[in-house]
Every structure is written in structure tokens, then in C-alpha cells.
Symmetry: D2
Subunit: 129 residues, 4 copies
């Protein structure tokens, strides 16, 4: 992906909150590649809430930089799972981080186990990579 001008701030670099938006893009792409997609999960009445996030900003990213966001899933258990990310620009590591997620019923926001099909798809994706 390419850094948007709207993602910069008056420091001339990307605002720190946007990395969490990029992490989300990587999650959506991950689900699209390895499962039926995020919308399919939502159509089952399930949301995957972000319950914790962590970002280390190593090198400031700038407007028009071409970046790659790498994502993998770790620690799938019960209602919870974790994504780990690395943001790279060519050979440079721009940032890394992780987000912890909990599956909930969309209507009540009550915790619910990860749907078995999703769990199986994640296991398949991670064992082949």
C-alpha cells in the first residue's frame, strides 16, 4: 500500500494512529486470502473486537512511501487470537506490533468461541507459511 497524504500530520510524517488502521487492512487481507473473508464472519453475527494493541514505531513513514504490511496469527484459543504485524519499506522495518482479539456475538457483544471453520482456516494458513 502507498501512504496517503491524509495520513500525514504537521510533523511531516504519518500520524501514529494510522498504523492501527493499516494493521486492520492487513487483517482484512489475511481473512480474504485464507478464509471466506471478514464480511462472512460479520454475516454469521460475529464480530472480532480488538481488545489490546501494541505498536513500535521504528522509522517514520512519509507521504507516498510504498509499504508492505505482513500479518500472521498466533495463540488461537477459545474466543481469543492474536495477530502479529511487520510494516516494511523495501528492506527496512518501519514498525511492528500486535493486536489481541476476542470473538463476540454482534448483537450482544458477549464472548463466543472462534467459529471452527475460521479456526481451521487459520491453522491451515499458518502451517503452510
Amino acid at each position: 500500500m502507498t501512504v496517503r497524504f491524509a495520513e500525514t500530520d504537521a510533523q511531516g510524517v504519518v500520524h501514529n494512529a494510522n498504523y492501527l488502521v493499516w494493521f486492520e487492512l492487513a487483517r482484512v487481507a489475511y481473512l480474504a486470502e485464507h478464509t471466506d473473508g471478514y464480511q462472512a464472519l460479520r454475516d454469521q453475527g460475529i464480530e472480532a473486537l480488538v481488545i489490546e494493541s501494541h505498536v513500535r514505531y521504528r522509522i517514520p513513514a512519509r507521504f507516498d512511501d510504498r509499504l508492505r504490511i505482513h500479518a500472521r496469527v498466533r495463540d488461537v484459543r477459545g474466543a481469543r487470537f492474536r495477530y502479529e504485524y511487520a510494516v516494511t519499506r523495501g528492506d527496512e522495518l518501519i514498525a511492528d506490533g500486535w493486536t489481541q482479539h476476542a470473538c463476540v456475538e454482534a448483537a450482544t457483544f458477549r464472548p463466543t468461541r472462534i467459529p471452527p471453520a475460521l479456526r481451521a482456516a487459520i491453522v491451515r494458513a499458518e502451517s503452510s507459511s
Copy 2:
């Protein structure tokens, strides 16, 4: 309101898209002051969609500027109404604009007439100002 650092961009001034967010803040404040509030409207199963927006950016706004957003409603008819805005910094006019709205049923996004109580509240607010 005070300009947020996250609302600036690498030009060092506020990014143009944020004025539409500010217009929305003014709408929410308007409804809170003169009616039962925006959430009450949503609780009735009605959404007020933005169907057109217009902004004139006259003077760039900067981080930490203290601004006022003035809003009034015009042209209430059927499902539609229009807000007009002025953004000021002290005596200066920073920007002005308007947004055109249509009431829809939240479930179907089908047009629906403005609820009579809302319409009456708007007429009352505008005739007293």
C-alpha cells in the same frame, strides 16, 4: 472546539476532509440543543444521510486554533433539509459551507418524511434565532 494535532497534515494545516467532521459535530450539537438529540432520532429507526456537501476553505486552520462552528437549518421539506455552516476563529471566517440531508429508514435506507417532532423543533429553533 480546538484543532487536534491529528487533524493536520504535512502541509502544516488542517486536512480538508476534517471540515466535514466538524460540520457533523455542529449538527450533533444543534440537535442536542434544540431537539431530543441525534441518538433519539436513531432510536426511532431513522437516519439522516448526507446527500450533498459543499465547503469553501477561506483561511487555513492550524493545530491548536480555537474555532467556533455555527450551524443553522434551512429548506426543510418532505424528507430533506439543509444545514448551513460558518467556521470562525475570533473575527475571521475560516470556512463556510452546507450539507443537504435526507431522512431514511435505518433498516432499508428508504426515504422517509422528517418526523413531525423534529420538524417542529427545527422551526422553533430557527424562528427564535
Copy 3:
């Protein structure tokens, strides 16, 4: 481009302010395709400020929609020029609009004529399309 989850709001559709961010993406892509790019303009000490914007929202866009943003330039004169946009999803027109721009010196924000090379590149791009 694909609609980001972060671009939606609690109405379940894309928040109206994001269309102005998309218009900017189209401008950056236009400059990258037809000129030396937006950063080159900034490196000359010139900014192209948005001085007016207009959007008509015709059909709500939703998470994960694949959209195209079409842009063309009109009315190049002195320091000013105008972009016109259409946002489409397959055959549907989701939104259209325009933005009016003024070239300024980045240091002083004083109006300055459009650089001749940029003007020539725009004329070339528009006559061939």
C-alpha cells in the same frame, strides 16, 4: 481501491468525510501518472491548497466495496484549477464531485501561478483522454 473498515461509521456505511480523502488519492494518482508527481511539486516549494469542495453522495458505499475514482482536470487558469471526480462501483455511480485548487508558495501560503511544466502536463493529459 477497496473500502476500509475504518472508513465506515455506525450507520454501517462510509462516513461522508472520507470521499474527500478518496478524491485526494485520485489527485495523487493523476499527478503520478501525468506529471512528475505531487511530491515533486512540494519539492519545488509549491502546495496546491484545496479552496472549495463539493460532493454528491448518490449511493452509500459499504465496507469492502471495490470502487474506482475517476478524475480529470478542468479550468486551469492563473493560480487555480479544478478537479472533477466520479466514484463508481461496477456500473453504478456512487458519488461525484469537484474540488477547486490554488497553487501557493509553501513557505508563505501566498498565491503563485501554476508551474508551466505542470500546466503543460495537464493540457497534454486532458487532450489525450
Copy 4:
């Protein structure tokens, strides 16, 4: 502060990235209350970069919620310092987290020690609270 409609997403709750924007609001307010303000720091040619961020999302926040963001500074040493945050809604803890910062020269983004006046102001603020 009051949750903006634009800060929600199609899950009906506040998008996770916005908490980092709120943390920044709290930092700006902290500097305004206890020091000469963030802009004064920038006017000295110093930026305080975010080099790490952590958020725990405990209870989803919703449109129009009235929240308080509490901030304090910890671990001031050399070029670095840390803010700790708590976001509350009435008696409820909505979220907490921290951000780690490094002072840099704005022109070069090279690390530089925290200006003594800022350091003294922080020590004063934290010892009186």
C-alpha cells in the same frame, strides 16, 4: 470529551485507532496545563515522536458517550519519557494504555535531550498530583 459520530465504525462502536488520537488530546492538554504547551516545544525546533504505543480496550465506547482521558508522565530520562492513560466513562474504566516518546530535532529527526524547562515542569506537575 464527547465521542464523535465520525469516530465510530460499522461495528457501532468507536474504532480502535481513535484511542491513540484521544491519548494525543490528553498529551496536548497536559502540556497546556503544566508547561508552555506543545506548540512552544515545536517552536523550539523539537518534536516529541511517539515510538511505542499500547492500548487495552476494556469496554466499547459509543457515539455521544462522555469520556474523560486521564494522563500522567512517568520515566523521564535522557531523550525519552512515557505517558500513561486511563479513559473513563463515569465510574467505568473504558480503556487504558501508555505511549513512549523520544524528543528529536524537528529538522533532522535526531534524538535530543528533553529541554530542561520541560523536564522541570513535568517533575513539578507529577509531584503535586
